[in-house]
Symmetry: C2
Amino acid sequence: MFTSTANLLGWDQETNMPARAAPYRSEQLATLAGLSHRLSTEPDIGDWLDECEQHFSTDTTHGDDERLSQIVNVRAWRRDYERTKRLPPLLVEEFARTTALAREPWNQARRESNFGKFAPWLAKIVHLCQQQAECWGYDGCAYDALLDGYEPGACVADLAVLFRELEREITALLPSAVAATAGDSPHTGRHYPVSAQQEFNRKVIAAIGFDFSAGRVDVSSHPFCTDIGQNDCRLTTRYSELDFVSSLLFAMHETGHALYSQGLPERHFGTPAGASVSIGIHESQSRLWENQVGRSRGFWQYWYPVAVSHFPEFDLSFDQFLSWSNRVTPSHIRIASDEVTYNLHIILRFEMEQMLIGGQLAVSDLPSAWNERFEDLFGLSVPDDARGCLQDVHWSVGAFGYFPTYALGTLNAAQLFDAASRAIVGLDDELRAARYGHLLTWLRDNIHRHGRRHSPDQLMRMATGEPTSAKAFLRYLRATYGI
Amino acid sequence: MFTSTANLLGWDQETNMPARAAPYRSEQLATLAGLSHRLSTEPDIGDWLDECEQHFSTDTTHGDDERLSQIVNVRAWRRDYERTKRLPPLLVEEFARTTALAREPWNQARRESNFGKFAPWLAKIVHLCQQQAECWGYDGCAYDALLDGYEPGACVADLAVLFRELEREITALLPSAVAATAGDSPHTGRHYPVSAQQEFNRKVIAAIGFDFSAGRVDVSSHPFCTDIGQNDCRLTTRYSELDFVSSLLFAMHETGHALYSQGLPERHFGTPAGASVSIGIHESQSRLWENQVGRSRGFWQYWYPVAVSHFPEFDLSFDQFLSWSNRVTPSHIRIASDEVTYNLHIILRFEMEQMLIGGQLAVSDLPSAWNERFEDLFGLSVPDDARGCLQDVHWSVGAFGYFPTYALGTLNAAQLFDAASRAIVGLDDELRAARYGHLLTWLRDNIHRHGRRHSPDQLMRMATGEPTSAKAFLRYLRATYGI
């Protein structure tokens, strides 16, 4: 109840709030966070959990749905309760207040490409995250404690191995992918009005299964998706009138998140059995609709003529358009990057975050460390911090440990789509005909309906037969770019 | 803090919320109302107030601002605390939940003009309001206890006298006003696009002083204005493409409310010294900008040519346009009514509410009682309940006792404008030149900056030299319609 109300305050902050309202909004969020923390750490709750635990085994592999849901709920509430009660209330309020207040300085710093304006806020936020990690405790390193909040079970040791392989393989296939899609923009000189894009996007979003009677689509500078309450899931996108594909892919990405929310078991709403399991799994849903569906040849075989009918100036040939939409080219901005280089952006952030939280990198040295490693990974120099370490909102909102879940989601998406393709006969034909029902049902059955019943690792093993790895993703890249 | 958060939930419900989200939203509002009630009735608060009261005299006629504000705050907190703690928490939650849930049945009943669909909800809400009145207590009748929540100091005995005079005078001058403005609509066949209306309205709203960096304007079916937080005051309007004046007058009305909010002393934000004093005073601010300014000849001398430049199909002569915009004609819908018949709509509701709360009228008999008295007041029969007792949102949200403040606001507006006209040399010329600064400053000085320092009655006496009466309003009507 508090989370959903805070989500509305947050959604409103991004989409509607007038400029001068920010300071009070940060107080509202801090008060709500403090109150929610206080209520969710009352000692009574520990007693109730003790009592519940005496009545349940923890075996979730069989039993009827009602019994399993109860076990799932008690286990998840225990985990959340233990994590939450380790944080002192003042730290919780300070974190909420600081991250709400830091938004505007970050915005300004990015607009002016002036790292100094954001540096004191970032230093404070890093310090607050370090304090959180110490409160939560960890086996490996402090950063593990933060990771665990977004992706239960993830740790630096495992991710480092996975990301080393990814870096090696991506770097190896990158030159061929760049060469295969090179060329000037065929969109140059064309104009795609926002209103036509909105109409087109709405058709696609509805076709892939979004329920508009239980959600909406708005505009924000950084696209996101949030749950405001039961039957109220809202996503945003942003528009460029020079290219209608980017707004569509943002919207499809966020719709993937929304489909997960809308597919959670409704009877368990408000309890862990009806909640999403991790950000890495959430991101697999968004990436799958964005990449495996939205960038595919089959998808555009249906939607290309629809786009032609929506945009009077859209006169590109199908092949010209598709090649450009899937072009691969190292660039500075993560959210505008192609699907080959995307994970390199994540690897960079994963390394920076580890060093900041571990204390090996001072905030003042971040820009130079970022720029050096960026050049190493992408072969490009960084022209300014706006296109460097200031580009993402995440650190300003205190989301350290979040970025790695984007890479996990990307790998999970390819792996899940691979499994779905094997399970659904004729899936390619269906997608070519804009029939998304079977794919969505498969995702509902294998991911959505499980809520937090299984760990992310268990869920991936059950759905695909294997733990998360880079194999399916790399196969997908090679197939897409004919390498 | 809770109120402002609940206001955001309410604003969102009217402007953005998807249809299926209503049940959960009602739970959010109920939880927040219950929690807010629990926190604001803790016995500690009574002890703190006891202690404060021992240190202060209650003389608010002199002293420095800091001391006076403290006295005002303690006195107002005491009043609110005593009122609030008389309500049992379960009644508070039940009221919040029921009124949130009743919105959709009311909407449906109105759409279908089917009173039976709303009747059970209305019966429940009337019953909840009766329970509230019993908890609060009263000297005269139960309805007084509800009135006092919106207009401290108002009571049925006084209002009945005032409204009898109003009814008599309005009924007497109505035929001449109708005759003076009769004619067919000169707008027929013309079309005013919403986007052009939005742009035009925005210019007017900014000109009269609304600070867009601390607020916004949206669309809702029932225009309103709400405070989401410090520097965040939001108003709504609604559009008809057949007539641009109605959306402008709605917007100017709500902007009047917003100017009051934006003019409250900022250093006292969050305390009674920085809050509005009553709905009747609030409504005086909205009515003044809507009626005394927005319907005046002087106002349109400046804005008529601006309107001509915004609306390609606007080719009415100035006099033709102004006469039509101020036309007087008895009609069924309160919010579409002219300023002469407006108060008759209020008198009707005042009488129905009294009888419903007093138990003299059963909910099932409301339509016939309404229709009979309507015909008596307006000389028109009521074609269906959608244009009768189902037309207003107020009862569905439990706002019994609110309507009379609209009439008080209308009288106060005329009385305040009269006083301002005497105080500001050349005000007419200023308004003709779209210079609203002196008028706004006068309102800031005489109303806004006082917060809850004085009672509504004291405030009117200080600002105009007299208590609220119908005199200035009736003078204004006679002058406007040349009677």
